[in-house]
């Protein structure tokens, strides 16, 4: 039921498979250190020799997207997009990369991978996937999943997803992840064979726990609030940004009309004609410059969106904690009531209402042998219960420790990434302003020559 530290079977065996190093992606520069330290994760499992593995680096890229048609599970025609994933291993010494694997995957397979990771690594803030359907669109962007711009941005998002996993000290060593990159056929079956769907916690159970848990770790409660706030504020920001983009598009494009009219007007003007004509050309340049500007901004929006979706991943970890805590509290409660029952039977006092007490009154007292038997059963149960409580406690504490470690890692990543995103936004604005100055300076010159 509850998740013990990662199953040894799913860990990479040193031979014959190539150990999965962590790629030298821009993400998680401190990965090497963490990865080495992550050996504590497989406590008791000595499948790895640690530091040597990180000499080999790999590069992962989602390099292409292709429209395909095929038959789905219900044997109906459908169109979908497939993405080419290429894995290269980089020789540390000379930096040359060699293509080691290349295969095609579709979005639903990425989803499957993520769902699997969520189940097996509940204490990890699992990187989110890019959005399934386009949201926060402004009018020029289509919400169509087949739209080339959307597909392109999704390609980048999927690549980012894989890179995040690959640079995560724990997730990068997962076998299913490795197979995702290397085993084209049968991968889905392999994942399903792990039976992870069965191991998943039911939503209902989780919801119940959230409501009824009495003493969750305060840090997780705060984290939950934080993730709610993060989600709300980023959504709001993205919505307004989309509206601003829409308006900005309008301003630029309307100027394009000047180009046409100036050109027509210049035909009837003798002295002003040349100035009008060339000014009109600059207006056209101005109007068309907005397309690239907004495309760049879309990448910025995608960076924010990733953290919007990360909020959900954070909440998933909190939910897990609540579930475990609730489970613990229930187990403790159960144990306490059993102990009490036992005590009552032993001392003969009936302090609480019980069915047994009722039936005793109705059908007569039980025999001492019967009572002894019951006490024995209870004592066994109590013993078992105490063992379980102990291990649950231990689990719970392990979970909190590990989860919190990953959350700290996540926080640092988030701060770095968001700061970088904001700075890149400023850079974009600067570029836009420079272009604007140039166009209008040219236009002004044309106007003054009229």
């Amino acid at each position: 039921m509850e998740q013990t530290p990662p199953d040894p079977e799913r860990q990479l065996q040193p031979a014959p498979l190539e150990p999965l190093g962590c790629p030298d992606a821009g993400l998680g520069a401190a990965v090497g250190k963490e990865a080495a330290g992550a050996g504590e994760e497989d406590s008791g499992v000595d499948t790895m020799t640690h530091n040597n593995f990180w000499l080999k680096k790999i590069e992962i890229s989602v390099s292409e997207a292709e429209k395909r048609t095929g038959r789905n599970a219900m044997n109906m025609q459908e169109t979908y997009t497939a993405y080419l994933i290429e894995t290269r291993s980089v020789e540390h010494t000379d930096g040359q990369s060699v293509l080691t694997d290349s295969l095609w995957r579709r979005y639903s397979e990425f989803e499957l991978l993520r769902n699997y990771l969520l189940v097996y690594y509940p204490h990890i803030v699992v990187p989110p996937l890019p959005e399934k359907r386009a949201e926060f669109v402004w009018h020029k962007l289509s919400a169509d999943n087949m739209d080339p711009d959307f597909v392109e941005r999704r390609r980048i998002g999927l690549e980012n997803f894989l890179l995040r996993i690959a640079s995560h000290p724990i997730l990068c060593r997962d076998k299913i992840f490795y197979l995702f990159l290397t085993q084209e056929g049968n991968w889905k079956e392999t994942v399903n064979e792990t039976g992870f769907q069965l191991k998943a916690d039911s939503r209902l159970k989780a919801l119940n726990a959230t409501f009824r848990v009495k003493n969750p770790d305060k840090r997780f409660t705060d984290l939950k609030h934080y993730s709610d706030e993060l989600q709300s504020v980023i959504s709001h920001l993205l919505r307004v940004r989309a509206r601003v983009a829409d308006r900005l598009y309008g301003v630029y494009k309307v100027h394009g009309n000047y180009g046409r009219v100036f050109s027509e007007w210049s035909a009837i003007e003798k002295e002003m004609g040349d100035g009008l004509q060339s000014a009109g050309h600059h207006m056209d340049v101005y109007a068309s410059s907005i397309d690239d500007i907004l495309e760049d901004e879309e990448h910025y929006a995608d960076q924010l969106k990733e953290y919007l979706f990360y909020a959900e991943a954070l909440r998933a970890v909190c939910r897990k904690h609540e579930l475990m805590q609730y489970d613990l509290e229930m187990a403790a409660q159960d144990l306490a009531s059993k102990k009490q029952q036992c005590e009552e039977l032993a001392t003969g006092t009936v302090r609480t209402f019980s069915l047994k007490g009722m039936t005793t009154k109705l059908f007569g007292q039980e025999t001492p042998e019967q009572r002894e038997a019951r006490i024995k059963v209870l004592e066994e149960q109590i013993n078992e219960g105490e063992q379980q409580l102990k291990s649950k406690n231990l689990e719970g504490r392990e979970f909190v420790k590990n989860a919190w470690a990953d959350i700290e890692r996540f926080k640092e990543q988030k701060n770095r990434d968001l700061k970088e995103a904001l700075i890149s936004y400023a850079v974009m604005q600067i570029s836009m302003c420079k272009k604007g100055i140039q166009v209008w300076t040219n236009a002004k010159e044309c106007f003054s020559k009229m």
């Binding site: 601003v244 301003v251 009837i268 420079k434």
Partner: protein, 473 residues
């Protein structure tokens, strides 16, 4: 009609003071038919050598001219040698340029400060409420050094109706001159209420422009109705308004105009065909530009509205992020500053570009009216010629009538030609200035935003350098 002598005196006096800046037409003395007046120079300056008539600067001569309701710039020839019947309400101002293009010596719209002697301002709109209606009056202050004005400073209040009246009188007096346009009576879209502050301000500025354009026009500036408009008290103006041809006669003229304008079009000389083509195309283009400019303003306003909301969200965000507080707050600050810059750009657009473009939209309508009137004058001639050719009616008086009409047509055409050149020059300058201003506003806007974001970037880089140097062991 009053004494012709007085009128001639007035005309000569006017000649000595006529400013011909940008207007190459006023060489009344240089044409063959003139008599009694010195020839004017070709350099566009009023003839300094023109013999000053006794009492020329006296206002008494001018009073007579006022009563005559004549345009002082009228060709003296017409006054002395032609029939007084020409001095009807449809009188025109003939200008005989020697060579129009060579007369273009001035490209500035505003007269040189030292040559300008009539300064007008329109301000202080005030609301007046009566039992029947509510209306706005505008204060008009006139400062002048001209002798024909009783005083050097005047302050009157006028309402839109009064401006309409003035425009009508000017059009009557000078059917083929390009009269400056008035702002529209109503603005169809965007305005709910007549007394909206923006509407009033826009109108005030347009009215100010209207009067100043008249003041700068070499012919119109001496128009008597114009003077009365600027100087008369309210009751004086209303009694003056009641004079002049009645409504019926004016209506009759309109009917004649419509009927005969088609004929005028057929015999239109080549240069006026060209002019008409230009006017049609120009009208199309300027209307489009007006629409485009209005649309840009609207889009910029909506962009500004959205931007206002954008900055504060970053502040909100900073409340839940410990490590990103400063960065987020700085970004919010930058966005707000860009917001202000956008606001400034918008107001620049609405001040420099939009009114100018719109004025020329109205001008283009005005030009079409001028063309029509010219055509109508020509049509009058053509119908008489036709009558003579086909001996339809009693043809004894026809040759004489035709002669007069021929003169009338020639004068009308010349007036238009000269004013046309002047108008074109002004138009080019105004358009050039307006668009240059717009470009300037945009450059300034982008420069401000650039500075804002660059300083943000610098501060972030500095912070980063500080942080990394702190981290170093």
């Amino acid at each position: 009609m009053g004494t012709l002598g007085g009128a001639g005196l007035a005309a000569a006096v006017a000649a000595s003071r006529a400013r011909t800046l940008g207007m190459e037409g006023e060489r009344r003395a240089s044409q063959a038919r003139s008599s009694g007046l010195p020839a004017g120079g070709a350099d566009g300056e009023s003839p300094g050598g023109s013999a000053p008539f006794p009492g020329s600067s006296g206002s008494s001569a001018l009073l007579q001219a006022e009563v005559l309701d004549l345009d002082e710039d009228e060709d003296d020839l017409e006054v002395f040698s032609k029939d007084a019947s020409l001095m009807d309400m449809n009188s025109f101002s003939p200008m005989m340029p020697t060579s129009p293009l060579s007369m273009i010596n001035q490209i500035k719209f505003e007269d040189e400060p030292d040559l300008k002697d009539l300064f007008i301002t329109v301000d202080e709109p005030e609301s007046h409420v009566t039992t029947i209606e509510t209306f706005i009056t505008y204060r008009i202050i006139t400062k002048t050094s001209r002798g024909e004005f009783d005083s050097s400073e005047f302050e009157v209040r006028r309402r839109y109706q009064d401006f309409l009246w003035l425009k009508g009188k000017l059009e009557e007096a000078h059917p083929t001159l390009i009269i400056p346009p008035l702002p529209e009576k109503f603005i169809v879209k965007g305005m709910v209420e007549r007394f909206n502050d923006d509407f009033i301000e826009t109108r005030r500025k347009a009215l100010h422009k209207f009067l100043n354009r008249i003041a700068d026009h070499p012919t119109l500036t001496f128009n008597e109705d114009f003077k009365i408009f600027l100087t008369a008290q309210a009751w004086e103006l209303s009694s003056h308004k009641k004079q002049g041809p009645g409504l019926l006669s004016r209506m009759g003229q309109t009917v004649r105009a419509v009927a005969s304008s088609m004929r005028g079009v057929k015999n239109r000389p080549e240069e006026f065909m060209e002019m008409n083509n230009f006017i049609e195309l120009f009208s199309q283009k300027i209307n489009l530009i007006d629409k485009i400019s209005q649309r840009i303003y609207k889009e910029e306003r909506e962009y500004f509205d959205e931007m206002k909301e954008y900055g504060p969200i970053h502040i909100l965000w900073s409340a839940s992020e410990e490590d990103l507080v400063d960065t987020l707050k700085d970004v919010a600050g930058c966005i707000d500053r860009c917001c202000k810059a956008t606001e400034k750009r918008m107001s620049g657009l609405s001040e420099a570009l939009l009114p100018v473009v719109h004025e020329y939209v109205l001008y283009s309508e005005m030009l079409m009216g001028v063309m029509k009137r010219r055509d109508q004058i020509q049509a009058e001639l053509d119908s008489k010629v036709e009558a003579l050719t086909y001996k339809k009616t009693d043809t004894d008086l026809l040759p004489e009538e035709i002669g007069k009409l021929e003169d009338k047509v020639e004068c009308a055409n010349n007036a238009l030609k000269a004013d046309w050149e002047r108008w074109k020059q002004n138009m080019q300058n105004d358009i050039k200035l307006a668009f240059t201003d717009m470009a300037e506003e945009n450059i300034h806007y982008y420069e401000q935003c650039l500075a804002t974001w660059e300083s943000f970037l610098t501060s972030q880089t500095n912070l980063h350098l500080e942080e990394t140097s702190e981290d170093k062991p």
